[in-house]
C-alpha cells in the first residue's frame, strides 16, 4: 500500500515537471501489447509488423526524403484549406450572427450542405476538377468551413447584449462595436470552431489524398497497400495520430483556454 502511494507520488511529481509524460504513459500498455502480439508470431511478419519494423521504416523513409516531402505536402494542403475556410467562415458567421435576415436566409442552406459530407462531394468534384489540387482544396475548405461558421455564429450570439449597448453609449459606431465587442467576444468560440474544423479537415485530407492524391500521407498509405507494405500503412496511421495530438494539445487547446479563461468567459 505504502509502495503504491510512493509510486503514485513519484508519478505526480514527474508529470507536473514534464506534463508530456502524462500523455505518453497511457501508450505504454498499447505498445507492449502490440510488441507481444507481433513477437508471438501469431501472424506473419509481413502481415502484422512490430514496432521495431515500423520504426525502421520511419528512419528509411525519412532518410530517403519521402516522408518529410509527403508530410509537408499534407500540412500545406491543410493549412491552405484552413486559412481559406477561416477567411470565408468567420465573416459569414459574424454576418449570420448579427443579422436576423442573414440568419433566416443562410441557416437552412447551411444545414442542408452540412449534411452532404465532404467525401460525398468527391464524385461530382472529380468530374468537374479531375484528380488534382483543386478537388483536394475544395474538400478541405468545405470541411473546415462548417464548424468555423457554426461556432462563430454561436460565439456572436453569446456576447451579452449589454456589452454592445455599453460600447454604443460610450460613443462607438456599429463598425467599432463589431471590432471592439463582437469579434473579441466571439473569439473563444471561433477558436473552438477552428479546432474542430482542423480535426475534421485533417481526416478529410487523408481520405481525399487516398483517392485523388499523388503525394501526401494519405497517398503514401494507399500506395503502400498496392505494394502490400503493412509497415508503411501503420507508420502513416501513427503519424496521423501523433501529428494531430501535437497540433491539438500543444497549440489549439492552450489557445482556446488562454482566451476563454483569461476573460472569465469559460468557467473551469
Amino acid at each position: 500500500m505504502n509502495l503504491m502511494l510512493q509510486i503514485w507520488a513519484g508519478y505526480a511529481r514527474l508529470t507536473r515537471r514534464w506534463p508530456g509524460f502524462a500523455a505518453i504513459i497511457p501508450f505504454i500498455p498499447v505498445l507492449a501489447l502490440w510488441t507481444a502480439v507481433s513477437e508471438a508470431g501469431l501472424f506473419p511478419r509481413a502481415f502484422f509488423p512490430g514496432p521495431a519494423d515500423v520504426l525502421r521504416a520511419f528512419v528509411t523513409l525519412t532518410y530517403k526524403g519521402i516522408l518529410p516531402d509527403y508530410l509537408q505536402d499534407s500540412l500545406i494542403r491543410l493549412a491552405t484549406g484552413a486559412a481559406v475556410g477561416m477567411a470565408l467562415g468567420i465573416p459569414l458567421g459574424i454576418l449570420i450572427g448579427t443579422s436576423r435576415w442573414a440568419h433566416r436566409i443562410c441557416w437552412p442552406v447551411l444545414l442542408f450542405f452540412q449534411a452532404i459530407g465532404d467525401i460525398a462531394w468527391l464524385p461530382i468534384l472529380l468530374i468537374w476538377f479531375g484528380f488534382g489540387l483543386t478537388t483536394m482544396t475544395f474538400v478541405i475548405v468545405y470541411t473546415v468551413l462548417f464548424p468555423v461558421v457554426l461556432n462563430t455564429v454561436l460565439g456572436v450570439e453569446s456576447v451579452p447584449r449589454d456589452l454592445s449597448r455599453a460600447a454604443l453609449s460610450l460613443g462607438a459606431s456599429r463598425a467599432r462595436v463589431l471590432w471592439e465587442v463582437t469579434l473579441p467576444g466571439a473569439l473563444p468560440n471561433i477558436i473552438t470552431g477552428l479546432r474542430n474544423g482542423l480535426g475534421y479537415g485533417w481526416r478529410a485530407l487523408i481520405a481525399v489524398e487516398m483517392i485523388v492524391g499523388t503525394s501526401g500521407i494519405g497517398f503514401m498509405m494507399f500506395d503502400a497497400r498496392r505494394a502490400g507494405s503493412t509497415v508503411e500503412i501503420i507508420l502513416g496511421m501513427i503519424i496521423l495520430g501523433l501529428l494531430w495530438y501535437i497540433v491539438d494539445a500543444w497549440i489549439l487547446a492552450p489557445l482556446e483556454r488562454a482566451t476563454g479563461q483569461r476573460w472569465g468567459l469559460v468557467t473551469s
Binding site: R165, A166, S169, L170
Partner: protein
C-alpha cells in the same frame, strides 16, 4: 451641461407570448436640470427600466419626445452615459482600457486617455487595479469601474439602471456613499433607477415615483450632504421621507 426633458413619453410594444400589444409606459413627462440627481422608484413592471432604455436610445419610443437641450434624441450616444446592473465591462480589456474606452472612441490618443482613465480610477479608489481584468475583481469593484467608465466620457446625463442590485448589502451601502461623494465632486446629471426606496432617498435630490407607466408623484429630498448611512439611519427627516415614498410605492 444640458437639460433633459421627457414630453408625454410612451412605449407600446407587441408581446408575442401574450399575442397582444402591451403598454409599458403610458404618459411620462419629466424635466431634469443640469447637475440634478434624480431617483426613479416604482414596483416591478412600472416601466422604469423601459424609460431608461428609451433615454439611452436602446429601444425606440412609441410616442412623445425625449429632448436633450431641446433636440430630440434617437439611438444611443456618448452624451448619455449608462451604468448597467450587469456591469457590462469588457472582459478582454483591462480596467484601464475599460475606463479609457469612451475617450478612445472619441479619438483621444493613448497617452491622454490613459491619463484620463487613471484620474477617474483614482476618484473611485481603484488606482491599484488598473492593469487587472474585470473577472479578477469583486462585484463591488467591477461596478465602481462601471461608474467611472461612464463618467470618464463626460456625459451630459448619467443613466443608472439598478446598478447596485447585484452586490451584497454592505458593499451596496459603501457604493451608495461613494456615489454621493463622486456626485458632489463632479456634479453630473444622474437618473438613477431602483426599486430600493431607502437607496432612492439616500442618493437623490428628487425622487420620482412611477406607477403603471405614469408619474405618480415627485418628492424633493433636501437632506444635507455629504450623506453617510451611519448618520442618516438615525435621521428623522430621512425616516419620514423614506416612509412616505415607501407608502406610495406599496400603494402604487
Amino acid at each position: 451641461m444640458k437639460t433633459l426633458s421627457l414630453r408625454n413619453l410612451g412605449k407600446t410594444y407587441f408581446d408575442p407570448y401574450a399575442g397582444a400589444h402591451v403598454t409599458a409606459v403610458h404618459d411620462v413627462s419629466l424635466d431634469v436640470e443640469p447637475g440634478e440627481f434624480i431617483s426613479v422608484v416604482g414596483p416591478s413592471g412600472c416601466g422604469k427600466t423601459t424609460i431608461l432604455n428609451m433615454i439611452a436610445g436602446f429601444i425606440p419610443y412609441s410616442k412623445g419626445d425625449i429632448l436633450l437641450d431641446g433636440k430630440p434624441v434617437h439611438g444611443p450616444g456618448p452624451e448619455r452615459g449608462v451604468v448597467f446592473q450587469s456591469f457590462a465591462l469588457f472582459p478582454w480589456k483591462t480596467v484601464l482600457d475599460n475606463v479609457g474606452f469612451g475617450p478612445k472612441m472619441r479619438g483621444v490618443p493613448k497617452a491622454e486617455r490613459d491619463r484620463i482613465a487613471r484620474e477617474y480610477l483614482a476618484l473611485a479608489g481603484l488606482s491599484h487595479a488598473a492593469h487587472r481584468y474585470p473577472n479578477e475583481l469583486s462585484g463591488g469593484m467591477q461596478q465602481r469601474v462601471g461608474v467611472v467608465r461612464a463618467l470618464a466620457n463626460n456625459p451630459d446625463v448619467l443613466l443608472m439602471d439598478e446598478p447596485f442590485a447585484s452586490v451584497d448589502a454592505q458593499t451596496r451601502m459603501t457604493l451608495q456613499e461613494e456615489l454621493t461623494r463622486i456626485w458632489q465632486e463632479r456634479k453630473p446629471t444622474v437618473i438613477f433607477i431602483t426599486h430600493d426606496v431607502p437607496e432612492a432617498v439616500f442618493l437623490a435630490n428628487r425622487v420620482v415615483v412611477l406607477s403603471k407607466g405614469r408619474v405618480l408623484d415627485q418628492i424633493a429630498v433636501d437632506l444635507p450632504r455629504p450623506r453617510v448611512w451611519d448618520e442618516l439611519v438615525k435621521d428623522d427627516q430621512f425616516k419620514q421621507l423614506s416612509a412616505r415614498v415607501l407608502q406610495m410605492v406599496r400603494a402604487a
